[in-house]
Symmetry: C2
Subunit: 119 residues, 2 copies
Amino acid sequence: MLINELSKKTGLSIHTIRYYENLGMIKGLADEKVKSNNYKHYNNNTIERLEIIIEAREVGFTLAEIKKILTSWFETTESKPETLELFHAKIKEIDDKMRYFKQTKRLLEKVCEKIQNNE
Amino acid sequence: MLINELSKKTGLSIHTIRYYENLGMIKGLADEKVKSNNYKHYNNNTIERLEIIIEAREVGFTLAEIKKILTSWFETTESKPETLELFHAKIKEIDDKMRYFKQTKRLLEKVCEKIQNNE
DNA sequence: ACAAAGTATAAACTATGCTCTATGCTTTTA
DNA sequence: TAAAAGCATAGAGCATAGTTTATACTTTGT
């Protein structure tokens, strides 16, 4: 599929997709049989990768961090202990953030109560 | 307390605290009895506010959004229905993000398993 | 009393993550 | 076949959230 279709399937703008491609997070390939243009083709793996990017950026990971996640998930053949530790650290980060989430949610709920009681 | 103490108690840099003060998220007051300087004094409410800021920014709320939360929590006297709706929407956002969190955590755990099995 | 440390204000600078514009080529469509 | 739409590349511009620098005044410690 070309970039337009990819954009529609993921909900990301064409600009954003190209931005991610420039960062090396995804990769499209030009059809070698077609010499007249340089149109890049993307496959379902690209969709998977973009969905992971969307998920992980919601969590607040930077694009650099997400790139590492993608590499470890899709490309890594060898297993470095420091990579493993990195991911354990990230999991811990998520757990920490979850706590902030619960606290903030509780605060917001209290704000709602306060607003309603003032009526 | 002065800004240095506030910085130590919250873990935020003096610069960041001033940045938040410029945005109107917190407010220090100069001692009127002292004419020789313009040193601002902060109280425990400021600490509370900064702790809320720290929590909420981890959740990914923008400083503008956090400012609204603070206003509704500490300053609002009247209760506007649209404010209430805003906060309900924010709570929903948090719930949505929690889902992303769980998915991303699961992905990271799988990455860890993958790395370990490759050994 | 004087150097060091603290405070205030303003402005410049930086990093991240886009978003938009310009240019030029290719493909599709009426 | 000419106009419109799509694709690629490069670079400029923008918003957010700080961080750093410069300047100047005040307070504190020795």
